[in-house]
Amino acid sequence: MRAPLAFAAAVACLACRSDFPPSWKVTELRVLAVTLDPPEVAPGVTTHVRVVAVDPQGRPLTTRWVACPPTPGTTTPNNFRCDSALAVRGESDAFDLMAPMFPGAFPVIPVAIRVGVCAGGAITLDADGAAHCSGSDYREATRTLRISARERNANPTVERVLLDGALWPEDPPPTVPTCPANGTCQHPIRVELGAGAREMYSSGGADGGVTIPERITTHFYTTGGTLEGAARGDPTEEVTSDMQLKWTAPATAATVDFWFVVDDGRGGVTELTRRLMVGL
């Protein structure tokens, strides 16, 4: 058996480095989350959709969305009919969406929600349904609404967010000092889940599957300073209640925004925002 080529690349890349910005640093237009409340509904029931997009340059954002049902008769969940008459469209970053009715018995049917966000302009659709942004920046995101006749999922609940071990309120934002270059002034940030946030669910399968706990992950984003990582999860699959990262303040005074996106690995997503005044 010859060695996979990946090894050669890995050896050659021992000395490689990239100057790409880390995924946790919000430096340009980003869609950080699309939340559904609730994330899984019965046919005919309404869910509330919210698009969390941010532009550090402060340009006005325009959002267009389309909810696409799956192609009838297909077993491939990624095959959606966004050009069909059943597709629902809108222009808002927060809206209510009613789950369509599907004939016949089914366990779970996915509906794809496709979102386009344009900074500093409007979104138009061409004859083929392709989106065009008249502004300078455009991002797309997808989200899946699960329509279920039986078991339902809920969004993970967050009890509180701690900064340096103390409660981090939404308002007023706390203040921390600036951190000189090469300084060691790390601030632990902890996201604590609420009781029952980690639900048990059936893994599925022909024999009904086994009941297992959700794997919850928190994704951290910020506009300033340095985070030691982009996400914290629960690799052991044990039931733990918090996820922590260390953040280093910038060297200059600034207002720094944070976003915490908590997902349960099966469609449940909760998003929180916090702000810090650094050296102000």
């Binding site: 050669a8 077993t75 995101a141």
Partner: protein, 666 residues
Amino acid sequence: MVLAGSGASAQTVRRTEVAPAEPEAGEVTVRARRPPRETTLITLDRREIQRIPGTGGDAFRAIQNLPGLARAPTLTGLLIVRGSAPQDTQVFLDGVDIPLLYHFGGLTSVVSSDLLERLDFYPGNFSARYGRAQGGIIDAGMRTPTRRRWGGNANLNLIDGSFLLEGPLARNLTLVFAARRSWVDAVLGAALAGNTNVAVVAAPVYYDYQTILSWRPSPRDDLRAFFFGSDDTLRLLFTRQGDSAPTGLSIGQHFDRLQLRWRHRASERLSTELSVTPGYTDNARSSRDLRFSTQAFTVSSRFNLAWQFARTARLNAGLDLQSGPVDIGYQGPSPQRTPGNRASTIIDFTTRIDIFRPAVFAELELQAAPWLRLVPSLRMDYFGELRSGTISPRVTFRAEMRRGWFLRGGVGVFTQPPQFQESLSANDVREPGVPVGNPNLMAQRVISYDLGVEHAFSPVITASVEGFYKAFDSQVVRPLGTAFGVATLPYVNDGIGRAYGLEVMLRHRPTARFFGWVSYTLMRSERRQEPADPWLLFQFDQTHILTVIGNYRLGRGWELGLRFRLVSGNPYTARLGSTFNADTSSFVPIIGPVNGARLPTFHQLDLRVDKTWQLGRGVSLDLYIDVQNVYNHSNVEGVSYSFDSRQIAYTNGLPILPSLGVRTDF
């Protein structure tokens, strides 16, 4: 270029020949004994091999400058022959297949070039003696140790050191021992000791050894034991406190072989050769996302017979058997994942395969007319793991159309078993019931055609032009577009392909002052996932491959050599952007056409300067500096993308790289 005389058949072979400096009187050379087959014979002499810039005097690296071989990405050591995949080319040492040709992807080869008698490179239409390969063949012949006196050489450079000792032990009993060991770990360790700014240092550590014990009990018999092996390890020298090793990378690759060979010349017309080679191979590699290991105890056995049964006809026939157990463990991405297919990308298995691959072959060399030689041949292989076999007919010809002008060509069938993991019946441990491979796979097949012409303009200036076409079928691929994106069969034989091109070589053989050549290949290699799919570029397709080499003796022991290469960039699959998947807070790349983009053109100039002193009778000292990438061009070897695929960065190859060395022969 030397054109083989009588006894040559019609395959194409590019030979890097390192004939012993002191042929012994009365000794029948190995070259004369083995069945001559080649029509195109490029004989690189010792001076050429040792002086080509950028090769470090390594014969195996020297052949990379010949037509038919594409440029391998830096530090990969891949052998990409006429548009075939790297795993389609086999490497042999005196008929024994070896799992590794270069230490750490091309730093240096695993065999001392000073031990080679010949180095044959068959880019296509090779002899029926060789099989289980649909690309090319590299076969190195080891020389007999000298019987005259004890002597040898030593070679030191910044990367490794090596030595060779040889001489007579008794009448008709000779021994040679050669070994090499890298010392990058020692150099780096000493240089960086106490440097707290360096987080992690890992160094390639390798060694190899070769021992040949040769005994000639009679003029008709030649007995030889050839014991050789190699070891590559990536050694972590140290890590700064608090830092972890990069991606948990570890590499260990080791093999040992013991070849026992008996050559017997029954008469002037009949000779035989029997060899048995037990061997051990141990590979263990891991990174953050990959774990791969093999341990193999295999025996390779060969029997060759050469019978000149008529004045114009000669039969070469034989048996070829590979057998033994191979233990394989793998956890990681599927090795043949198709670009753009993200389904079922992780496999995990541990299993044992009992290899049993017998083969028989026969080749008839017919001098049909004084100017025409025909070589029909047949090879039959059986692959135990597939429970099936193949029949491979081949025919080649060589004709002297007019004095000094030769026309040659051939057509043949070449088969190769799938890689082990592709035909495994073992199950994925993560998903019991899901097979890792497809045990019903067939051997892959190539039908190869080539036609060429050669001409000698003078005793030192020669030229050749050769066209080739290869049709691939029954190629192993991963199926696409099955239910829920998961393949019901992990591998199928649906792939086809084609490779075609033209190879040109203009050469000035070594004279007192100068040697050099210009080699140019124009080619295209394409694949189809299924016969109805569109053609896609092969991942190592290189449209233009130009190599220019020149060496000039300036006098007073000074010598200057240059090598320039200009090669099309490899294709790659570009990302056109990404969509944020808000279900998982991850970015899904938007994949462009498969292999629809191409890396920038590669070009590089290498330079070598030698100064030699003759210190006495048979003793010389050579001090050299070999500079790769003289003008420090940033050659692109790959691309990487930011987390959202919106930014692209190039991965560059080696910067300017000077290497200083000293060699003494005694």
